[in-house]
């Protein structure tokens, strides 16, 4: 699978890494049972802090997409991100777009509330 991160983007690097894994799962280029690269290797190749990669992996684990086992690394457990994970991804994009145009979190929440009614 292909990891791509852009350090100049307003999206945090950890979110970009997690998004790469989600996209690979949606595109079926990554399937259950496959392993993700070790955090150290990924961090070194992408020039990011290892904790950033670990945070991305932890997010994916919390979404039920991967399993983190000591000595085995990160193993894919789910075929595709569930609706909740997709929503989390969409919210991140909304937050990034809001930051770009200078909106704060409260203003975004107001917009979302309006969309619900």
């Amino acid at each position: 699978m292909l990891f791509r991160v852009d350090p100049t983007s307003s999206t945090p690097l950890g979110d970009q890494i997690a998004a790469c894994v989600r996209n690979a799962l949606i595109g079926a280029t990554l399937s259950p049972g496959e392993r993700l690269p070790p955090a150290r290797e990924l961090a070194s190749s992408l020039g990011v802090n290892m904790h950033t990669v670990l945070r991305a992996y932890a997010t994916l684990r919390d979404e039920g997409l991967i399993e983190l086992r000591r000595g085995r690394g990160a193993v894919v457990t789910s075929a595709a991100p569930d609706e909740r994970a997709r929503l989390a991804d969409a919210v991140r994009e909304v937050a990034a777009a809001a930051r770009r145009i200078g909106m704060d979190a409260d203003e975004v929440v107001v917009l979302i509330r309006k969309a619900f009614t």
């Binding site: 699978m1 292909l2 791509r4 100049t8 690269p37 190749s45 992408l46």
Partner: protein, 328 residues
């Protein structure tokens, strides 16, 4: 550190320093040693036979120096081997020389230290405990240093120019960082290892019942080959802006991206896969199974094929990275 300097340090300076230090220490001890030391017995037990101390020192140091020189000769002869084997042959030579010289010098010091200030072979004690315990640690440390000094094999490939205009490239933004990562577990190899282990266990039981329990460990041979086979059950491929790295078990190859002129999507049929070594030269293909692959083309015209699940994307990524490097 420069590779020549590394070899020089690991093969000449390191064993030379150990040998010189031993010679200095031993020459300082000569006046405190008895004329003969126990060959058999001693250290509290009755002395059965003895050895002359000075010839032992002279012969011992000469043998160690001879082994060292033999290692240096073997190191230079390694250049006659095929290119991929040269580095490993030199690494093993350097490692063996460092370990042998340190272990033999340590053993000599250990023997002589127990005879210090003794007036006769009967007064020779057991070797001092700190020296006996410290020797294996020092040998391991020197071995690790020699191994580290050998370093990794350089690809020896020339730096490539810009990729040809017609190749497919993945558009990459300036500063964008990428990693292609592929990891596969080779189930066929795991099954083969399991079968070998089973054969080993069955052999041990059958041979044990047939010829007696002392022959049962014969089955261990198959179990050991199973362990070695199992070590080759992982395939890993990674590509980033620095290098293309591929590994099947313990066999690894790494090519700096600057040496890759361009990459093309390819496919290995079963016949191609089986005959790749014979037709294209051994070490020019690394694919765990027949199927899609990426062919790397280097500046000197040589090629290397690696198995890959999505060769179109990977070839475009490599070409994109090379193009960006060249433009920058």
């Amino acid at each position: 550190m420069n590779q020549v300097l590394r070899w020089l340090t690991g093969l000449v300076v390191l064993p030379g320093a150990v040998l010189a230090a031993t010679a200095v220490v031993v020459s300082g001890w000569v006046g405190r040693l008895p004329e003969r030391i126990p060959n058999k017995g001693g250290g509290g037990r009755p002395v059965v036979s003895t050895l002359a101390t000075e010839p032992l020192i002279t012969v011992g140091l000469s043998v160690i120096a001879g082994l060292w020189l033999l290692g240096v000769v073997a190191f230079f002869l390694a250049r006659l081997l095929p290119a991929p084997a040269v580095h490993w042959a030199r690494t093993v030579t350097q490692l063996v020389v460092a370990i042998l010289v340190t272990a033999l010098c340590g053993a000599l010091l250990l023997v002589l230290a127990s005879a210090l200030d003794a007036r006769s072979p009967e007064e020779v004690r057991s070797p001092p405990l700190p020296l006996a315990v410290g020797l294996p640690v020092v040998v391991l440390a020197v071995g690790a240093l020699a191994f580290a000094l050998a370093g990794r094999r350089s690809s020896g490939l020339p730096v490539a120019g810009s990729p040809p205009a017609g190749v497919v490239r993945l558009p990459l933004a300036d500063g964008e960082r990428v990693l292609w990562s592929e990891q596969r577990v080779l189930r066929l190899v795991i099954w083969a290892a399991a079968a070998q282990a089973l054969v080993g266990v069955v052999t041990a039981v059958v041979v044990g019942l047939w010829l007696g329990g002392e022959f049962a460990p014969v089955g261990l041979v198959a179990v050991l080959t199973a362990v070695v086979t199992l070590a080759g059950s992982r395939y890993r491929l990674s590509v980033d802006e620095h290098a293309v790295r591929v590994a099947i078990g313990l066999f690894r190859r790494e090519f700096p991206l600057t040496a890759v002129e361009h990459a093309t999507s390819s496919a290995l049929s079963t016949a191609d896969w089986l005959t790749a070594g014979m037709l294209n030269g051994y070490g020019t293909t690394m694919a765990p199974t027949p199927g899609p692959a990426v062919r790397l083309v280097f500046a000197d015209g040589s090629k290397f094929t690696v198995g890959c699940e999505d060769p179109d994307t990977l070839a475009a990524l490599i070409n994109g990275l090379r193009h960006r490097q060249h433009v920058a």
